[in-house]
Structure formats: structure tokens, C-alpha cells
Symmetry: C2
Subunit: 202 residues, 2 copies
């Protein structure tokens, strides 16, 4: 009923915006209306940025993160430790770890997690490429930093299984109570993991 | 620090997305990453929709809503009552009233509310155009449906002041308790207004 009064060009934009994660019909309408109210050059600028995106960004041939240069700024940085490689699910995870500010190694992006239901097996992830990097002989430590979700844990287990005979140290991101959190509000799985992984005071 | 590892083309898209209402740095990063992970033609489709938006949509010369035709589908609909005109702040308000489904008149979009702090006075809104429509003589009722916010109320008062000598009936959207709301959770201003506007049972 209301569709009749929404101009088709606006409706098209709204439907396209709806395909993005976390954007429903209402948010998409609000965004579309705002873009329409603002000057046309702002919409053009956003359209340009979208058009440029895929043409100027590629995957780094070493770590498979998104980058405009190959190798990326991290793989090409001689000040970083090439013997330590952090394995993450997605480029967004790399950013999160970079923001933490205390990791100075290289990365390896899997581009997903094992998810048999969605048809994503080891061949769909950059696992062979990780093994090829290990074969090259410069890597001493593989630091697995997949998320502590069910598929993230499954992927980590798979990697540990596959790599434990290689001459590299396998490490994992610690799980526990978030900084500043009151123990009584922690869920029991997190608390159990934090107790299990308790460390000696220094 | 993290900027260094975000490719400039992605950073540009993220900054453009940040300009939209309700989208902060984190949401924009997530959206940008998602768009980058998905096929390039999806980004192109969204870019196309954005580019087309302003070129195919104009303001209806009668009610000033966004439309691809002039007059718009409402002003051009002979089945609708042209003697009843609903005055709203923005085209989005028109959609909300259309969705309610029980209004069969025409509209008039002010394109804003009075806001002296932002330099928006009566001349910046489509008030002269509303007066011209009244002068044309077909309008019997002006139904003011601005929001019940401070600037919305101020705009309504201004319109009532300006139009009360005209030979048209001036009406306003009713304020009261939302449907299905428990009285004890209503704020006192809404409750006071609802008591004031109480109506006789039929």
C-alpha cells in the first residue's frame, strides 16, 4: 500500500541498503530519505567510494588481508616479526588485534570458519596457503586467534589437529573474564574457562 | 595507528558511511568490510541506486513530496480528497500517515520545522506555498500533523497563528496515550495532554 507513494528510485536504494547486515526496512528508509534530502554530490561521493572499492583493493598474496598494495603494509614491514603469525577469521579481526596495540607479528586471514552446514570445509579457507607459509621455514609460532564461538573453536581445533606435527609452536588467544567485569555477571562457561586457565601470580 | 592497515579505498567508504545518521565508526567499518567481502556487482548496484536517486526524483510542485512524476501519485489521484490537506514536516511523515491507512486527503510537506538556532525561519519552510494553495480556494481543511516535539509544536503554533483568519478549518493530530499502553507507564506530559483532550464516549 505504502509502496505506491515511495518513488521507485528511492525504493530501489532502500532494498539495496536492506541487503547490508544490521540494516532493516526502517533503517534503510531513514537512510534513503536522508540521502535524498542531502545534496546530490554526497550521494555521488558515496557511489564513487563504492565503485572504487573492489577495483582498488585486492588480497595480499602473503597473508590474504585486504590491501591496496601487494604485499600489504604489514607483510612488507621489515620491523615486524615474520616468525610469528597470527591466524584470524576475517580482515576485521586483524584490525581488532592491531588496535590492541601489542602484537608485532604477521597475520594469516582464513576468510571464514569451518561450517559444514554452509558447505565451508577446509578447502574453502586459506589453510593450504598457511601450510605453504609454514613450509617456507621462517615461521616459529602460529598464534591461533579465531573467535571463541562454536565455529571459531571448531576451526581452531581443526588447525591444531592439522598442524601439531609441524615444527612450529602453536598458541591460542586466552579466554577469560573481560577486563573490568564483575565476576558475578560473567556467564558460567566464560568463568569455567577463566578458572581452568588461571595463571600463577608474579 | 590502525588507519595504516585499513586500505585507503575502504577508509574512504567508511568515512562516507559515517556521515549517515545512526552510523558510527564501528557500524561503518562492519558495513564496509561486508561490502568488500561480497561480490563487486553488489557494490556497483548500490552505487548505481545512489547515482540514480537524485536524478530521477524531484519534488512534486504541488505538495513538495519526493516523487518521480509531477504531480505525485497522491496529488494526481482523483479519488483522493483535494479539499483536505495534511501538513507534515518531512516526506517520511507522509509515509507514516499513509501506512496508518485511514487518511484520504492530500499532503503538504514543509521540509523542516522552525528552528531559529539553526537559522530555519518561516521563509526556509514551504509556508508561502501552503498559503498559495489555500488562496487557490479548493482547500476546506488544513490538518496539521507536525511531530509533538518542541520544534514541531512551535511550527504548529506558528501555522495556526498565521492561518487562523483564513476561511479554512484548522485541525491537529490528537495527542494522547499510545494504543496498548499501560497508563502508569505514560509520562506525565502525555497523560496531562490525554486528560485535557478526553472525548465523550459514543
Amino acid at each position: 500500500m505504502s509502496l505506491q507513494v515511495i518513488p521507485p528510485a528511492l525504493e530501489r536504494l532502500i532494498q539495496d541498503l536492506c541487503k547490508l547486515p544490521g540494516i532493516g526496512q526502517k533503517t534503510a528508509s531513514r537512510l534513503g530519505m536522508t540521502i535524498l534530502r542531502r545534496p546530490a554530490n554526497e550521494a555521488r561521493e558515496l557511489a564513487d567510494a563504492l565503485t572504487q572499492l573492489h577495483s582498488s583493493i585486492q588480497l595480499c598474496s602473503c597473508c590474504f588481508t585486504f590491501s591496496e598494495s601487494d604485499p600489504c603494509s604489514i607483510c612488507g614491514n621489515l620491523k615486524r616479526d615474520a616468525s610469528l603469525v597470527c591466524v584470524v577469521e576475517q580482515p576485521g579481526d586483524l584490525l581488532a588485534i592491531e588496535k590492541a596495540g601489542n602484537f608485532n607479528g604477521h597475520y594469516h586471514i582464513l576468510h571464514g570458519v569451518l561450517s559444514p552446514m554452509d558447505g565451508i570445509g577446509p578447502a574453502e579457507l586459506k589453510i593450504k596457503e598457511l601450510e605453504a607459509r609454514i613450509n617456507s621455514g621462517t615461521i616459529k609460532e602460529i598464534f591461533i586467534a579465531t573467535s571463541s564461538t562454536v565455529p571459531g573453536e571448531a576451526t581452531a581445533s581443526f588447525l591444531i589437529d592439522r598442524l601439531h606435527k609441524r615444527p612450529v609452536l602453536l598458541t591460542r588467544l586466552a579466554c577469560g573474564i573481560p577486563m573490568g567485569m564483575d565476576i558475578k555477571y560473567a556467564d558460567r562457561h566464560t568463568l569455567a574457562r577463566a578458572i581452568e586457565s588461571r595463571s600463577e601470580t608474579r
